[in-house]
Symmetry: none
DNA sequence: ATCTCCTATTATATTTTTATAATTATAATT
DNA sequence: AATTATAATTATAAAAATATAATAGGAGAT
């Protein structure tokens, strides 16, 4: 682990290689996809790992816009669109759909890397981050959590769940949403899995456990009050 | 309160006017500065208000880069640089200094607004949606309701019902319509389910309960008077 | 050996129903 | 037109039914 991971989606082999080489020399890990379908496939599998996506617009099978739309339904991962030329219509279209940046071909690899880094920086995916929420500190790099300065032990799921809730503080999250984000699958059956984990987290948070409040009929919400 | 505020820094009066007009028609508040020194001055005074800065690079007295550097010493406010032409050297230079975006002249106002909005969104400055109806605030993300600034507790159905009524304010809604939208099924029997909920909501809204008025023979209507 | 998930049980909150009171509409009568 | 009686509709409160969540314990997975 460690290095930032970039998913490069482009149908031109030559283009992929160019970008890949340059990114790799700049210490990025690179995943490749040669069309939209492959891209979604890889994204499904590696979504936890991927920090940013470079997405060509013009591709066979599934074009860049479709890929963008699908990914945006479940993820806010930064996406840079690679366009043949910056047509205004397309840009506007894309910003609404959640495009973070455009780079028009031909581009210089240096600019590419600079933009990738700028976006990672701005979306806070680069530096070691310590998120702080009312006395609860989450160190995303060390994957540790402190409550009032004291380290608490959380399991993988507990950590993921707490982080997800905290990152979306003040937002009531449905069970479906939680499952899709923390568990990566759809919710079958009526198990009380989430509840179990919430219970454990609350317990470990001690007095601050009440920051996780239950929204009856919906799910849970992290809120400091 | 309310609208997002943009500080436009450019020495050309014509350019400022163009940008200002377009931003204003898109519901932004606009502050102007004709050079770097004025920019810093205004920023000092209004830093709490300014959500984003459009900064021309080439300016008399103090150029864009210097302004950028100074502001970055104390603030992370998003900054878009307006450049005459996207020279690679400059771009790299700027990203390191914390530029969020480049727009090269000439640009279309539409693109400009789109980028501004995209950045505000990405930096989370687009505040969450709070619907306001005559002193009743509904935070759809947090699923909370405030009456005159004071939080009130609503159950799922109460919340859904109130939201539905408020979203359709000034429209008389039949019981059928209400049931189909808030309950998702047809109305069998003659229970007084809706009435019960309306009663409870009215009670919780206190004096503002009268905003929910009954339309005899039809249903209910949310109306502020 | 812990972590995750599931099951069962208990606790709690919400929703619906029911019964009765209050209000409003309607029509007949003055 | 105003009054009255009757019918229809809605308000209200409390009880009953239902839905949802907390909790604890344990089996299987990692």
């Amino acid at each position: 682990m460690g290095n930032k991971c970039v998913l490069v989606v482009d149908d031109e082999q030559r283009m992929r290689k160019l970008v890949k080489d340059f990114l790799q020399t700049n210490d990025f890990e690179v995943l490749e996809a040669e069309d939209g379908e492959k891209a979604l496939e890889i994204f499904e599998k590696e979504k936890n790992k991927i920090n940013i996506i470079l997405l060509d617009v013009m591709m066979p099978k599934l074009d860049g816009w479709s890929v963008l739309r699908q990914i945006r339904q479940e993820s806010k991962v930064p996406i840079i669109m690679l366009t043949a030329r910056g047509e205004e219509q397309d840009e506007l279209f894309g910003f609404e759909l959640g495009v973070d940046e455009y780079i028009s071909k031909p581009f210089s690899p240096k600019i590419l890397v600079a933009r990738v880094e700028a976006i990672l920086k701005r979306t806070g995916q680069d530096e070691k981050q310590i998120l702080e929420y009312g006395g609860i500190e989450i160190d995303t790099e060390g994957r540790t959590v402190k409550v009032d300065g004291k380290l608490i032990e959380l399991s993988l799921r507990e950590y993921e769940l707490l982080t997800f809730l905290a990152e979306n503080k003040n937002i009531a999250l449905s069970r479906d949403k939680i499952l899709n984000n923390v568990w990566n699958y759809d919710y079958y059956g009526d198990s009380r899995t989430i509840d179990s984990h919430v219970k454990k987290i609350r317990h470990k948070l001690g007095k601050k456990g009440k920051y996780i409040q239950t929204i009856r009929g919906i799910g849970y919400k992290f809120e400091i009050k």
